[in-house]
Subunit: 183 residues, 2 copies
């Protein structure tokens, strides 16, 4: 059987951008943010904080992001069973292009450069599965999409949700079992 394709998002799925945004918010406003302060939104959607989004233009912003817990081990496992692509929106913030390349090759060296996609819109991508935190990507995808939990999508009810990478692994373990059992 042909290997199936999974398209995985980078920001807030493989890479944790929240610590940078909370640190920026604290520097601008002098107060600590807690997850309940930005439940249902992005940090730069908080009142008066829209300008924080401009830091996505900073060279280096994406160069030292922490890897999400268990992301590397589960991605390595997925790559044994599937063709795993990483697709990340870079084009609105072109300074992110070299940073994201370096980050992905360093943190996920087992994902070939052939499997990286830097894009604007993801509607041009085709695959069997997508793992993404953005409703706009998930709802236009032609395959089975998993909504990776992030502050801004907490109240979204329409999609299969994964809260962390251990849930991603559990989902695909079931998929593989189901396929192995199929006639």
């Amino acid at each position: 059987m042909a290997r199936k394709r999974i398209i995985v998002d980078m920001d807030e799925v493989l890479a944790d951008v929240i610590p940078k945004f909370t640190a920026l918010y604290e520097r601008y406003f002098g107060r600590k943010l807690h997850p309940e302060d930005y439940a249902g939104k992005k940090i730069y959607d908080l009142p008066g904080a829209a300008h924080i989004r401009n830091h996505l233009h900073d060279p280096g912003f994406f160069l030292d992001l922490p890897v999400m817990p268990h992301a590397r081990e589960v991605m390595r496992w997925l790559a044994r069973h599937y063709d795993v692509y990483v697709a990340t929106a870079t084009m609105e913030f072109p300074n992110s292009l070299p940073d994201k390349y370096v980050w992905l090759r360093r943190e996920f060296p087992f994902i070939s450069w052939r499997r990286l996609v830097f894009c604007g819109s993801k509607e041009v991508l085709v695959g069997d599965y997508m793992i993404d935190d953005h409703v706009s990507n998930v709802e236009r995808f032609g395959g089975k999409a998993l909504l990776y939990t992030a502050s801004h999508n907490l109240y979204e009810k329409r999609f299969t949700r994964v809260d962390d990478w251990l849930e991603v692994r559990a989902f695909f373990e079931k998929e593989l079992e189901r396929e192995a059992a199929a006639p």
Copy 2:
């Protein structure tokens, strides 16, 4: 009717890389190249010239490439009738990432950053049409592919071929007429 999607390649389709490669060859080997010298191949496939391909790593290599004749006017016309994406292989040569972004935004400013895709393999892309000079991209594409003539594909017979951008325009004029005539 939903607009159809065309996926257009950059190198040797929108951008002419041949003058740079012939100039490099001349600098290394002290003799001028003519198109018949590299018919059926890439310039770096000539005997002893493989190292010339490494210049694709040079920062700036992709920054000042000439635009193919009529490419801009035909792309502007296409963009009125279709969703036009530009998809270009960047990941083997990561220094090309910022250069290709700058080149595309400067030379084709009417193509939104939302419609740019920098990738490794193009098999993850889906659309109605592709215009590309590489047989490996054209043969794996799920829609209708046009092989854009380049030295290395001259003897390929399997695909619909376009020799220049005026032929691209003529092809899509017929497609639009055909669709307008359809019941």
